[in-house]
């Protein structure tokens, strides 16, 4: 079996959000989500690292052309998320709390549809330099 290699592309976007469960009262929201529940929102510089794994093509030596991967991320993720309010501007979060866990799964699902099914995909999302999530798990 031919050896697989992982290639990575890092990108970033800036967005506002809040963590809030509309089914709960304010007291419960404040207890669970604390200052992240601020009704006027707060925000982050999000970082994403997209990992694509596969066997390099014998013709090009590429798992995936990283310029193509960059273009896919720009067109399908950054255009949708950058300088946006995740709760208000991004349809996927109309009824989904934009936690780092949910954001990474939404990004994965969008990218999965754009990338060759022969290739494995994993996404890491940095909410701050110290908090990050990854999907899918190994």
């Amino acid at each position: 079996m031919e050896k697989k290699v992982s290639v990575y592309r890092k990108e970033h976007f800036n967005a506002a959000h809040r963590l809030h469960n509309a089914a709960w009262d304010e007291e419960t929201n404040n207890r669970v989500f604390g200052k992240c529940n601020n009704p006027n929102y707060h925000g982050h510089n999000y970082g994403i690292a997209v990992k694509v794994t596969g066997v390099p093509s014998p013709e090009t030596g590429f798992v995936i052309d990283l310029k193509l991967l960059s273009n896919i991320i720009h067109e399908h993720i950054l255009e949708k998320f950058d300088h946006k309010n995740l709760n208000l501007d991004v349809e996927e979060f109309a009824n989904l709390n934009p936690t780092a866990e949910n954001i990474v799964m939404v990004i994965y699902n969008i990218l999965r549809a754009q990338i060759d099914k022969q290739l494995d995909l994993q996404v890491r999302l940095y909410e701050t330099p110290r908090n990050f999530t990854e999907y899918p798990t190994d």
């Binding site: 006027n40 925000g43 950058d82 300088h83 309010n85």
Partner: protein, 136 residues
Amino acid sequence: MIYLTRLEHFNAAHKLYNPGWDKEKNEAVFGKCANENWHGHNYELYVTVKGQPSEETGFLMDVRALSQLIKECVIEKLDHKNLNVDVEFLKGKMCSTENLAKAIWEQLTSKMPAGAILHCIKLYETPRIYVEYFGE
């Protein structure tokens, strides 16, 4: 002269929008930063004070006291807030990184203990964009 720096951070929403202009002009000048629904950043704040170390303690300023001062006067008022809406000391100001650095200076400069002088506010809006303010 010794310079002592404390690094703190806060996360906040904002928008760049001049209420005296119409939406079209705001978008022409501020681009996607004018999004009416806000966007946000992880801000990194470097506060530098200057002075001579005390002969008794060796400290220019107790850095725990500096940290506490920044937390009380700045971080508690900005962290997880909307800069345009939630922050008293930014009312009526455009929430650019430049104005935010100047406003943070104003919050801190009069509260320095004897022997410590505020020297610089260095504020990162993103890992690639920062401003510095020296009070001039």
